[in-house]
Symmetry: none
Subunit: 131 residues, 4 copies
């Protein structure tokens, strides 16, 4: 189970990794039920990324999949076209990763938004690595 202590550590690690790269990120952690556990908006980070970070974390958990993987299926003509409009809004581009504990259970998700999606994904992975 995702504890508050673990969620805080994940966000601190992700924020430190972002800070070292001079990236300004919104970072959200949700539990295995997709409900928000911890959130941090770094100084100067985009306001529009608050919602995106939370939705990325939530989207990953809702489908047990990283967001970018869903995005490959939700393009025009794809098998999940339009899925973004379900569940009160999903985000299907990269930056949402699963949080997996030492025995392989999904305990939540992390969503990062604030820069190019490659950077968002990199920072999300840093966070996920510190579970």
């Amino acid at each position: 189970m995702l504890t508050s202590e673990c969620a805080n550590r994940i966000i601190s690690q992700a924020a430190m990794a972002a800070s070292q790269r001079e990236l300004k990120m919104n970072i959200a952690v949700v539990d295995e039920g997709g409900n928000l556990k911890t959130f941090r908006r770094m100084d100067g980070a985009w306001l529009g990324s608050i919602d995106i970070a939370i939705k990325k974390a939530r989207t990953a958990v809702l489908f047990s999949m990283r967001t970018g993987d869903i995005g490959t299926l939700s393009q025009p003509g794809g098998s999940l076209y339009g899925i973004e409009h379900t569940n009160g809004g999903l985000v299907t581009f990269p930056g949402g990763e699963l949080l997996i504990d030492s025995i392989g259970n999904i305990i939540g998700g992390i969503g990062v938004s604030g820069d190019a999606v490659e950077n968002d994904m990199m920072i999300a992975k840093f966070g996920a690595a510190s579970v």
Copy 2:
């Protein structure tokens, strides 16, 4: 201006005060524009209070007033009856407090939800006191 460092300190202080009293709280901090800055759900805290904590913090900032003060005016027959349904949803019972800096400027709001409203308000005030 509300920095990330300040927002983290506010939430840590509020969470510590809650923990000492064995209260399980959702704690949200928003900036002076009403946008989410930092959020923490303590272990075991109500899931339904995620949205309430965020809306309390936001409501306080939107009207430069603690939430409970609005609630006295929004009762049936009151001058602001129904105001809760504006702005995408407001919360007008106690637990939302303003964050005010040393020279008297409003720099944001804190919202706490997870227990009786008296306790929510008490913890919110602990947070606001550590600006």
Copy 3:
């Protein structure tokens, strides 16, 4: 028909009346179709009143009635109880007035929000008087 020139004059007059009384208001003018025509948020006015001012103006036009009059009918037990939840959200406390031209036609509505509802209504009437 409500022209842009007329809407600007209404808002300028309302803002001047507010300013003379040291009131900080959000002022919205909608046309006879209930669609936003002009809006002004005075410096320091409540952010939460943006939505309320617009909804007051719209509510008045949607029912050809000042908002406070609808509010007397929408209380618990009243004949319009719950009407606030229709039309994407209405506001039924005072501060929304009709704009009526010299031959008695309704050409739009004005909504004012930012202070006690008595003051909101007073400023709205100043605006409406300068059609």
Copy 4:
């Protein structure tokens, strides 16, 4: 900080530039928190552009970027595909510009809608130039 006086001047300049070219525009100005400050719908301007103008101004501020730049990334197959569905709705085609003060700070955004996007963008730039 974006004052009401400045916002009015921006909208007046944009409206004058539009009028000289016989363009009928909706023009919105939001502050640095993305909250509506001033709005004007010119006579005869499209009703459907009220929402678009406001969302353009808001989108620019939320991502510190002109709206058209986001649009190049949000196409099918692009890295931000589907971003329009976040934050309660964004607009990612041209016509939303940042308002930047003399020392380089973002103090808000302007959104213009009512004609071809090239014209929307041109008028938005006229407005932004009069900060």
